[in-house]
């Protein structure tokens, strides 16, 4: 199994979710994150003092998935999250040893 982690632009989240649902991905875990990269933050000014806000808001999605489907998931996300502008994000894949579904105790593929 694989763990696919995607960091995307927040306003692309709905589209990614729908594309994944269409691709048959039934579960995922999402966190709010902040990104640092080529896309720059901005500068705010409060009473004349400048504050550099170096991070930009991102959504981080984790999906544990069958080895076979991992590639589809990656490309589905990469397509749905694309705007073509800097800061669209990254998707990476990590090997997973085992998975358990807490409710039933089922493991591995059955747990997804």
């Amino acid at each position: 199994m694989k763990l696919v982690t995607a960091v995307i632009k927040p306003h692309k989240w709905e589209e990614v979710r729908e594309a994944l649902a269409a691709a048959g991905v039934a579960g995922m875990t999402v966190t709010e994150a902040s990104g640092y990269g080529q896309q720059k933050g901005h500068t705010e000014v409060y009473r004349g003092a400048e504050y550099d806000v170096s991070l930009v808001p991102k959504i981080r999605v984790e999906i544990v998935i069958d080895d076979l489907e991992a590639e589809t998931v990656v490309s589905t996300i990469a397509q749905a999250a694309q705007t073509g502008k800097i800061g669209d994000g990254k998707v990476w894949v990590v090997p997973v040893d085992s998975v358990v579904r807490v409710r039933t105790g089922e493991t591995d593929e059955a747990a997804l």
Binding site: G35, G41, E44, Y51, L55, P57
Partner: protein
Amino acid sequence: MDTGYAAYAAWILASASLVLLMTPGLALFYGGMTRAKSVLNMIMMSFGALALIPAVFVLWGWSTAYGSGVLGLFGNPFDLFGLQGVAATDYVSIAFQVTFAIITAALISGAIADRVKFSAWLLFLPLWVTLSYFPLAHQVWGGGFLSDAASGLAAKLYGLVDGVAAVAPVDYAGGTVVHINAGVAGLVLVLLIGARRGFGREPMRPHNLPLTMLGAGLLWFGWFGFNVGSYVPDAESFDLEGFVSETGLVWVNTTAAASAAILGWILVEKIRDGKATSLGAASGVVAGLVAITPACGALSPIGSLILGVVAGALCALAVGLKYRFGYDDSLDVVGVHLVGGLVGTVGIGFLATAGGLFYGDGVRLLVVQALIALYAMLWSGVATLIVGLIVKAILGWRIDEEEEVSGIDFAEHGESAYDLASTGGSTLTTGA
């Protein structure tokens, strides 16, 4: 000057202060309903009104509303320009009236939340009060066309008695001038400016409801100044009992209507959606207060309860219309202020203890009230359209699409509202 007048002065000073507080209150009421990325801009639209209207009012506003009349339509703006030549004892009235102009202009902002240039709004404000607010104030309260003056609409319809209209139109504290006016202005601007990006598609739910509830509380509180402070005494022969009785009744009616409107609104919600919401309760407060504004001196407390419950229920139904008709009146200025203002202005025709249809006094007052409401809608609609188009031509209304999506607070003000990280702030701050 009658000694009793000093007591009135004490109360109108308090009232003016109360009404001034309504605008920051409105800023929070509205601000809590926007998304977190546009709350500051929403608040700033109210503060823009606080920043500009007083100067305008001091310069030509008071004169345009209460100066010597031109055709019964507006006062001569140069008559008392810069408040030169006003009677010193008029300052308490000037204090009171400036707050009305501020809040009325600020009310409009809710309709066009999240998407307009702050500069466009600042240009709109003085133009709009000049073309729409001050003339209507003159016509209703300054002895103009919508008052009981001999040359007014009502007098033309049903004749005169003792030199004033036989059936005098009733607008105690601003159903037409304030609420119908702001409501129509909101509608016109929305149609001119268009919907928020993602309207009807993306969820745009309130980001901070306790802030909205606080705003509603401050509005209710301030509204006592608005309504009860609208009592008009005779400075030379002060009617002591009249002052005590009328102000007391207006206070009770104001509260009765506000509370009944909460009930009306959340009842509709309970029946339609299954749950009574806090946003509904806050909205009900405002709907009831809007409706009772013109009516607060003309109804009995029981009549006020009835007006309130009807206003709450109708406004609760009306706020859904924007989705049906596809106009993005973002925070329901139309659904609450226009509809509520109409309920109150027309409701007087039914519920006024003197002149109301339900009290067996026929339809004449009803007709007059319906006509002044209609007239106010027309005036406000045309005036707002003209001003809206001027602003569009000079500055344009909308901010850049991408800026709107990423958030108007940063785009227009360079700020973000919150930095609540448990890490003590700032460490992980991200640009919205």
